[in-house]
């Protein structure tokens, strides 16, 4: 049996416990920040001491210097700007039809039965494998990249949106019917808000896919963008410049995830 002396103040004991929990919480937050810092330090150390080949893995501090030098010339920001424009445009071009078709599929079963097999059959084809055709159709400018990204983003969004609608408890549809809802009410008052949580998961996935796609799309048949930068640096064996490109992609991926999570909290106050 566990015993504590009765003479002690119970609040004091609980306060100590509370403080211990607080410390633990701070420690966990520290771990989250420490892991990337640790990897960077390890990389720096291994690269400087020659334990890994500094030609292939230049130390992070040198990559940072390269980044600053490239930034100073202004060229880097042109590449970033172009890539971001393509990502956003492609993202919207994929998400908007994805949401609309997904909602229609969820609400109307004939539409679902008609479109589902097409989605299932087209989804496994990597949009990148279609890039040659897309370039023939849309040229090597921005449009071909935007279409490629839109094609990749569309599928997770349409599938999650349809699943989100089907997930809505049928009692809400009964309520809507009983209180005289019309088609547009089902669409805007029930299907859209009800499917939003699952839909946003799909959009989050689509955002990650958009970044994966942009790099690959800009490696083939492009004359600008972060992917182009990575590819040409690699071909010229300018690995520091290549790493700058890679780290930029990783940074934007992280940033977009955080932004979308924040947005999620904002537009789902009822969750």
């Amino acid at each position: 049996m566990k015993k504590s002396p009765i003479s002690m103040d119970p609040f004091e004991i609980e306060q100590q416990d509370w403080k211990r929990r607080q410390r633990k919480g701070r420690f966990k937050k520290g771990l989250t920040i420490a892991s990337p810092v640790f990897i960077l330090l390890l990389w720096e150390f291994l690269s400087r001491t020659g334990l890994i080949d500094a030609r292939f893995f230049p130390p992070p501090t040198e990559i940072l210097e390269t980044f600053i030098a490239m930034g100073a010339s202004g060229e880097l920001f042109i590449h970033i700007g172009i890539s971001l424009y393509r990502i956003f445009a492609g993202f919207l071009l994929g998400v908007i039809p994805g949401v609309i078709i997904g909602l229609l599929m969820g609400l109307y079963s004939p539409i679902r039965h008609f479109i589902s097999p097409l989605v299932m059959a087209l989804m496994p084809i990597p949009t990148l494998a279609l890039l040659p055709i897309i370039i023939i159709l849309f040229g090597i400018g921005d449009m071909s990249k935007i279409v490629t990204i839109a094609g990749s983003v569309f599928f997770p969004v349409v599938i999650n949106t349809a699943a989100g609608v089907l997930n809505i408890d049928s009692i809400y549809l009964d309520v809507a019917k009983n209180y005289g809802a019309e088609s547009k009410d089902y669409f805007f008052k029930i299907a859209l808000p009800g499917s939003l949580p699952v839909m946003l998961e799909g959009i989050q996935m689509g955002q990650a896919i958009a970044l994966l796609t942009i790099v690959a799309a800009e490696m083939m048949g492009a004359t600008s963008g972060i992917g182009y930068l990575i590819w040409t640096s690699y071909k010229a064996f300018l690995l520091k410049e290549m790493f700058v490109g890679l780290i930029l992609i990783s940074f934007f991926g992280y940033l977009f995830s955080v932004l979308l999570r924040g947005l999620q909290k904002k537009i789902l106050p009822w969750r």
């Binding site: 408890d169 309520v175 009983n178 809802a181 808000p193 939003l196 009822w270």
Partner: protein, 259 residues
Amino acid sequence: MSGQSKISIENLTKVFYKKNSRAIALDNISISINDGEFVCLVGPSGCGKTTLLRILADLEKPSTGSYAIAPGKKTRPLQSMVFQERGVIPWLTVEENVAFGLKMRQLPKSVIKERTAYYLKKTGLDKYAALYPKELSGGMKQRVSIARAFANDPEILLMDEPFAALDEQNKFILQEELLAIWSETKKTVLFITHSIDEALLLADRILLMSARPGKIVNEIDISLPRPRTMEKVRADPEMAIYFMEIRKHLQEEVQQSRN
């Protein structure tokens, strides 16, 4: 029965058909409910009482037979349903939930505002108007459901075990609140329950249903004067007899359906 029947159900039968199963949910039901009457439908679970309510709510169709709800004012909807606790829409605030039916019917904004505010106040929800249902207790959610139905001002109210999920104390409070609002509007109500106490407290008339196939096997007029409270129901010797009578019936039905 007088000529002013508000709900009339005639020879209504509902069967469920699937490839390997046939079930008779409602077997040749005929009921007439008067204007302003509060009727409780009591029966063992699975006897088809919810199916009957869903047919009246236009959420399902009868297999054969017919029913009619007498129309009144043109602007009024025929019926509104008070759903079980899950029926409060989670992405609408309390106020938006209460205003839901009025908005669907595209009434003028001022009317919606006024009526919503009135029933929010009546049900004690005015302080919670801007909250989402997740922040409410079960009892509060059910008040939202009741306010939504009354605000819609229908010819008849259909209630599907609205208090079944509540704890005993909250149930008593809400039952009495419901009676208070009802006595103001005198709407025709068809209320489903499997709680005998609830039926004795609320009803002008209790209809007893059998287990599947669902039939109306008995009806009891409850003449206990209003306003009623649970204390009065408990203290009345006649009510005690009814209680035992209904209880015996329900137990027999449950026993039978087990065999």
